[in-house]
Symmetry: C2
């Protein structure tokens, strides 16, 4: 059955793939190998059940330091009527773990006997007992822990440190474990260049193969990253054939789409069997599943065409490669933890696809929240920032904000519990804060929704704190009025973070000769703006109004970016001539800066989090001289009031 | 401050250790090293924050296959009034990911244009558009994902596969990571022998060093297992000094107690500083914490004296070594998941110690249960079987059955969810079942409490099923009467597992010439019994009564073992001459067997689990010819009725 050129449902794709694997006896453990029993066996999968070869203890062992005796000879001993046993015919000293003499059937602890004669309490001439012993007292009998022939560990078990000890104690020396599947990763594409290349426009640093190799290592198999192959049909044919001849699985990345230089599907068709071309999952639908015939003509090797966008590539690994490796190792695949969390915003979804959405997860008060990340398949940062993934199934067009969804976690719940949400205005010093918090047991997750958006998030109980710099035009004071307006009923605290310089970011050398907001109206000057709700936007609009400048007369006023760095990047790349932002963003990208205003950037926190101790590592840092200094050296920052409680 | 010879509280021991480490500047990251950015960097800990060196994309990239154009030239295009742009001065074909020409500021997707002239739709003479484009449409602008200078990952971050991709894409090629601490593990003890040695009485297979090495690998450091050193003061001194000279941490296992050959504390005192000798934790209290001066006289190395019992050794690693390695790597130590579970039985605890109790955890119906494991420090199987650990703090004398306790999990919650509890009678075929279930997505945890104990566990809602073989003396029928008696109100099902032979297990060659229960009264014949409530015990007592034999006349009648194998082991080791049990146990230990009775061994299951599908893998196995055969070949088993629903 060949299914290609248009997307088919995930289950149908998987069943086509697995039934073909079964035809070739490739849907079971691949093979076994013998490894020494040492710490390097950690994580390997047992290929056979391990039955104890020896018992533990393998002899009757004394459980105490004391004297081995015959219990029968102690009968009748009483506090007022001791019995004396002579060494060494009636009693022998034994340390804990020593074997019991054949004639003995009990041990009396050394602290319960009275030594008679001799200088060493361990070697008296005789001992006196004032209580009788029952047979087998203070003895760890042979097999107490493990009896030879007993099951120690089942086949399919993944070895942990303690397992190694039990296996050694029960007589194993080597272990039969599943052979690690050999997985070839073949990066293809004329545009790909290796790390470290001086980049020209159009070059893409080849990075997917490292991610795939890391996944494969994590999942217990052996990755082999092959060299980058340009889009050349015959060369690709040869390389794929070579990879198939020497591996158990071939991943071709990318060329899996239907473009003019997407050869993978044609090559699979030519050298083997194309089973699936296109799966109705998002991101990642141009997946190829097939089989390649080895040069020996007798055996077949599965091949997966992995889409090129990094988010798609990683997801394809999780969906198609991880379960196959588990089958080949003979283990139950680990299911990630699942939790229920509430979406912080609406998400829409194409009704035809199983739509995988990466989310950041955090507990804010009593609510577990899932904040959807940027959904572009090319957005590498969404992979790094993701705490988990949720799936919107086919037939569903999306979910509203507040909807509870099941999230498969990428991080431990402990890490989630340590997460501080900072939803609000963007400031570059939050990156420094995130970095410093990592070693203080907290993880900072910030989402840039602007100052107003942050206050809304606080109102909805969706963030632990919000960066905020909203000027009150009447008083000239920052944040107090806005907090009263947006959070009239809430008990919140405002803590000064930094004072910072706002101004115009312009290209190096200021070629358009811009010196103030008045110059934005000059012909030929293009502007890049911040989004509505951002404090910088509020400040701009306020100042334009003061100056009587009509926003409609500014070219690019409607073009919105979400961070200071994005504004700076637009200017650095020539997409705009200037934008409003902070000095540090200009400095970071080596641009010029025209300082115009000072503003207060504060952290707004609901009282419950301010009081709870959860945010204490942030307060510790605000008081830390080194941390303050690391911010003060950045252009345009004043930290003298950092940590002052404003409200 | 030297604290030794008697146990001190855990926190006091830790603070003495860490303040001394701080004195020597050893309570922080040890050092850094540069490693290549590839899959082998997985799990390493970043030593510095990583800021993006290049933006991603690092140029304005087309987000679609289509034509790069000037948006200004499309103004006015309407469905009825197309605009025509000529190639290549007004439009140029671009693939997804291609750089935008300098003069262009928008891309129109290929499916939205009408080609004019030419044979290749990608290279027509001109294109016709019927809609205008806004600037920057269908473009991924420079820095859309990552802007150079932005934080990619914080210091202290533990690298995952996706992180490697983001680091490569943002311009890293090598990474500065924390150096792995070098940890020496020195096994000491004249009784220790390496794996594979032919064992004599008193020999102990050295296995702790493998467990410790595995733990240390897992925790991100580099273990070095040194050779076994006998109990020789001077030799040990030299070996410990050598280890200290070449490592960051020395673990001496064992010799940490106060016995005549326990030299570790004295050596630490001689070659450095003894800080702590004895910590009030159970198991594992004879812990030594100290510092050794290196031969260069300038630097110091921490040393931990690890107790010899395997359970104590593993716990000492978790409590003292794991957090130190995390500090040395500069990362937040992973906190294991914690859950609340209800104790299945009462546990008592010495009030002076922090008492760590290993438990098996499972969900039975709606209840999460924790069954305490055998608490002997020497019980290796308790390490392997443990799903988690709970701590009874100092000052508490124990907990009652049903008490909710916090359990730190060693396994994922997914594994816990897949656990089938089988509390009840012991049969050796349950080991085979456990082994076969491992590859079927279930984990069988069995506790041997006897048939009656199993029915009680069902009544209490503490098990998914119970092995049961209780003879009704009136009807001669197994289990039906007992289930009615013990579970009168419950809806349970009874499924036939096996029929098996019960009889007397005797030494090879039957030296005491035993042929039936009558012979148990013979002088010189010693018996080993099963515990009260065991089906085998019920059968024995019934048959003794039938024969008019007085239990008091049987030597060893009061000596109880909990499994068939334990009974067989008692006979194999000469501790008893005979015991009642199943043929397979005699066969396993190469003993003789006198068959006496056939009995029905059934699985009793509450209706809710019988119906739920959770136990389906067991039903699948009961119908599996290979599985049935693997049982039928064992001595004394009949599987012909396996899977028959009795009730």
């Amino acid at each position: 059955m060949v299914l290609y050129l248009h997307d088919i449902p995930l289950e149908k794709a998987q069943s086509a793939f697995y039934s073909e694997l079964e035809n070739h006896h490739l849907a079971a453990r691949l093979g076994v190998e013998e490894v020494p029993l040492d710490e390097h066996a950690l994580g390997r999968v047992l290929a056979e059940p391990i039955w104890a070869k020896i018992s533990s203890p393998h002899y009757h062992a004394s459980a105490m330091d004391g004297f081995a005796v015959r219990s029968g000879e102690t009968i009748g001993a009483l506090p007022g009527k001791p019995i004396t046993l002579t060494l060494t015919d009636q009693a022998v000293y034994v340390d804990t773990g020593d074997p019991l003499p054949d004639w003995a059937d009990a041990v009396v602890p050394i602290e319960l006997v009275e030594p008679v004669g001799g200088n060493d309490p361990r070697h008296p001439d005789a001992i006196r007992l004032r209580a009788s012993l029952t047979p087998w007292s203070h003895i760890r009998p042979l097999g107490e822990d493990i009896v030879a022939t007993q099951l120690v560990l089942a086949a399919g078990h993944v070895l942990r440190p303690v397992d190694l000890g039990a296996l050694a104690s029960s007589g194993s020396q080597t272990l039969l474990v599943a052979r690690k599947p050999r997985v070839a990763i073949l990066p293809t594409g004329t545009e790909l260049v290796p790390m470290g290349t001086v980049l020209r426009k159009g070059d893409i640093v080849e990075s997917n193969s490292i991610v795939l190799a890391g996944q494969i290592l994590d999942w217990g198999a052996e990755p082999h990253r092959l060299e980058i192959t340009p889009d050349d049909f015959n060369l690709l044919c040869n390389r794929i054939q070579q990879a198939a001849d020497t591996h158990d699985l071939v991943l071709v990345n990318a060329g899996s789409s239907a473009g003019s230089e997407d050869f993978t599907a044609r090559i699979v068709e030519k050298t083997g069997k194309l089973l699936v071309h296109g799966v109705a999952v998002r991101p990642g639908h141009p997946v190829i599943l097939g089989m390649i015939r080895r040069s020996d003509q007798n055996s077949w090797v599965p091949v997966v065409g992995v889409p090129g966008y990094p988010v798609s590539a990683a997801l394809t690994g999780e969906i198609f490669v991880k379960p196959l490796i588990a089958i080949w190792l003979g283990k139950t695949p680990d299911q990630p933890e699942e939790i229920t969390a509430h979406l912080t915003r609406k998400i829409t979804s194409p009704p035809g696809d199983d739509d995988f959405v990466r989310v950041v997860v955090g507990r804010v008060g009593e609510r577990m929240l899932a904040a959807p990340l940027n959904r572009g398949a090319g957005t590498i940062t969404s992979l790094v920032r993701a705490d988990g993934i949720t799936m919107i199934p086919r037939g569903v067009q999306g979910y509203d904000a507040g909807q509870p969804v099941q999230v498969r976690l990428y991080r431990s719940q402990d890490q989630i519990r340590r997460t501080i949400f900072a939803i609000g205005s963007h400031d570059m010093t939050l990156d420094l804060l995130a970095s410093a918090l990592e070693s203080r047991g907290r993880r900072l997750v910030s989402a840039n929704v602007g100052s107003q958006g942050g206050l809304v998030a606080i109102r909805r109980g969706e963030t632990h704190m919000a960066g905020c710099h909203l000027l009150d035009p009447d008083s000239g004071v920052y944040n107090l009025a806005a907090v009263k307006e947006y959070l009239p009923e809430m008990d919140v605290k405002i803590v000064r973070w930094v004072q910072r310089q706002q101004g115009l970011i312009v290209a190096r050398g200021n070629p358009k000769d811009i010196h103030g907001l008045e110059d934005l109206e000059k012909p030929g000057v293009s502007f890049v703006n911040r989004q509505r709700g951002a404090g910088t936007r509020v400040l701009l609009d306020f100042q334009l109004k003061q100056l009587g400048i009509d926003a409609a007369s500014i070219l690019g006023y409607e073009r919105e970016e979400f961070t200071h760095l994005a504004v700076a990047a637009a200017i650095a790349s020539g997409r705009a001539d200037c934008g409003m932002g902070i000095a540090a963003a200009a400095e970071a990208l080596d641009l010029d800066f025209i300082p115009l205003y000072h503003e207060d950037y504060d952290l707004v926190m609901p009282r419950e989090f301010f009081d709870s101790g959860f945010l204490d590592p942030i307060f510790d840092l605000m008081a830390d001289v080194n941390f303050r200094q690391s911010i003060a050296v950045m252009a345009g920052y004043d930290v003298s009031l950092m940590g002052t409680v404003i409200l």
